[in-house]
């Protein structure tokens, strides 16, 4: 096994028999698609769920369903316990404290929450303590050219609403971030730096420390998009030292409809809320309202209890397997993918080869459009993602409008990778290229 920067400690990857045992926990992976065994290589879009996750949701609905943080009856108490226990489990999974984890519908909502809370602060909400969230003309927001649209458009919109300027760290023609430009791009005008931990297209891992130290030097807030990192590698937000991190549940074996925002407690307690309404207040009169501290101040309305419980069950499942071992296994699969696809004549693999990456590899089959590649692979039971993967600017920088992306998870076997490589090798022949 080769070692990769970012996983400094050599960890034993999962054994082949362990992977088979894990795979057996996923009912859907036993299915046949188009008359052949399903090979699921689209976990970057959404992961499959082990039985324990949806059984946890079912158990909640059968035994404890009721509204949380209100009502005095026994079920309400039990539901509240389950909900808050889930928060504790997921917070611990990323190295955070419970009051630093806000439930959201998904990562997109988590990022919009920051964007709109900062808007509200910029309009004067939140008093003196919200000063550091205020933006105006002359201030700068920095993103990168790697970003998923979910970590780009909320900042474009925030810039429009506040008069701030949006700038970005470009990538080179391989898709590597141009870190050498950070010193110029992060300056005294920079108020917020939002960047991805792992590129959802290239799978490459960002040097977080470099962004954080530059941002801290000028007092800018940092927002990390953890959608592609939290599911695939051990994460400790305190050692990453970011101010905020967004991630989604459905990409880490959890249910759809649940995501989370991590924020340093002192920041969350000082930030004005985004969604307002029930369950996030202390005193309300007809003219105004006082808000609860975090996380409740950001959780207006009826909460996603079953989903939170399902996500906590997913996090426990991942913990039990061991995130460091999952990372090692996926590093192995990713290396197999990268090498296997690169060796096929007429196939071009995207992304720098000298930057650590998770098991995500985008490629093109020269002369065959990605949609046709995806269709052909589907006929052989192989699920991959095709298109721009919600990252049009990055694709433009790479000089293509679409790519085909294979992405792994802990349940993928070496046979899955071999099946993909064999199928990709016959694409050009099928299309007569």
């Amino acid at each position: 096994m080769h070692t990769v920067i970012g996983h400094p400690e050599a960890t034993e990857a999962l054994s082949l028999s362990e992977v088979e045992r894990i795979k057996a926990d996923f009912e859907i992976l036993e299915h046949q698609v188009n008359g052949t065994d399903l090979v699921y290589l689209d976990s970057g879009a959404t992961s499959q769920k082990p039985r324990c996750v949806y059984e946890a949701e079912q158990h909640y609905y059968e035994n404890a369903n009721s509204a949380v943080h209100r009502g005095a009856h026994s079920l309400a108490v039990e539901a509240t316990d389950i909900f808050e226990q889930a928060r504790e489990t997921v917070a611990k999974f990323i190295g955070a404290r419970s009051n630093e984890l806000v439930w959201t519908s998904n990562a997109t909502e988590a990022l919009n929450l920051i964007s709109y809370s900062m808007s509200n602060a910029s309009l004067g909400r939140g008093g003196d303590e919200a000063q550091r969230f205020r933006l105006g003309a002359g201030d700068e927001i920095l993103v990168t050219e790697l970003e998923h649209h979910a970590n780009l458009i909320p900042w474009q919109e925030l810039a429009f609403r506040t008069g701030a300027t949006l700038r970005y760290v470009p990538v080179d023609e391989q898709g590597a971030l141009r870190y050498e430009m950070l010193d110029e791009l992060i300056n005294s005008r920079t108020k917020l730096v939002a960047f991805t931990h792992v590129s959802n297209v290239l799978g490459t891992i960002t040097d977080v420390a470099r962004f954080v130290s530059a941002a801290k030097a000028v007092g800018a807030l940092t927002v990390l998009d953890g959608c592609q990192s939290v599911p695939h590698m051990p994460i400790d937000v305190k050692s990453l030292d970011v101010d905020f991190m967004a991630f989604s549940g459905h990409k880490m074996l959890g249910p759809t409809g649940i995501g989370a925002l991590y924020g340093r407690a002192e920041l969350l307690d000082a930030m004005p809320p985004f969604l307002t309404g029930g369950s996030m207040i202390t005193v309300v009169d007809m003219e105004h309202a006082e808000f609860l501290p975090s996380p409740q101040r950001f959780e207006a309305g009826t909460q996603r209890v079953a989903q939170a419980h399902g996500l906590a069950t997913a996090a426990s499942y991942l913990d039990e397997v061991g995130m460091d071992r999952i990372a090692s296994w996926e590093e192995h699969l990713g290396a197999m993918l990268f090498e296997g696809l690169s060796n096929i004549e007429g196939v071009r693999v995207f992304g720098p080869s000298d930057i650590a990456r998770i098991g995500t590899v985008p490629f093109e089959v020269i002369g065959v459009h990605p949609h046709d590649v995806g269709q052909y692979l589907d006929s052989r039971g192989i699920a991959v993602r095709v298109g721009h993967h919600c990252a049009q600017p990055l694709h433009r920088a790479l000089g293509v409008s679409a790519t085909t992306r294979a992405s792994t998870y802990l349940y993928n076997t070496e046979q899955d990778i071999t099946a993909l490589i064999e199928a990709v090798a016959s694409v050009r022949e099928y299309f007569g290229v």
Binding site: N34, V368, H369, P370, H371, D372, Q375, Y376, S379, V386, G387, H388, Q392, H395, S401, A402, Y430, F431, G432
Partner: protein
């Protein structure tokens, strides 16, 4: 024929390579012409179609440029071959038949007299995710026709 081979019939793969009607041709001075740019945000496929209309509402030419999958590019090529034979009304009739076929989920037996080479796209209708690919050039041609001016 399996479903994949029905989707990618030889006539479609041939048209995807030949790209009849591409690239764009400048309209002649004073000629009635229209242009439309259509984009499929799901996959990023895009096409720009230009049509010219002559006497008695007869199309005289269709040209296009685009970037997309074999289905969308082949569909534009097939339409470019068909269109200059047609009047506006004949085109709208064929568009209706083509659209009905695309929505049929493989149930419709295409009338080759009406649809000519476009009948080959019947296999696409079994793949709902690809129907937009086949429709893109037709929708663009319709919009170009409706917006035509001298």
């Amino acid at each position: 024929m399996n479903e994949l081979d029905q989707l990618y019939q030889q006539v479609i793969l041939d048209h995807a390579k030949r790209r009849i009607g591409s690239p764009l041709v400048d309209p002649a001075a004073g000629e009635l012409h229209g242009e439309s740019h259509q984009h499929n945000p799901i996959c990023g496929d895009q096409i720009r179609v230009r049509v010219a209309v002559g006497e008695n509402d007869h199309f005289t030419a269709m040209s296009w440029e685009g970037d997309g999958c074999s289905i969308s590019m082949a569909s534009a090529s097939v339409l470019s071959e068909m269109l200059p034979e047609l009047t506006k009304d004949e085109f709208l009739d064929k568009l209706e038949v083509f659209r009905e076929m695309m929505r049929s989920r493989g149930a419709m037996v295409p009338d080759e007299e009406v649809l000519e080479d476009a009948a080959a796209f019947v296999g696409v209708s079994k793949f709902p995710a690809r129907v937009k690919c086949a429709m893109l050039a037709w929708v663009a041609a319709e919009a170009a026709m409706l917006g035509a001016s001298a």
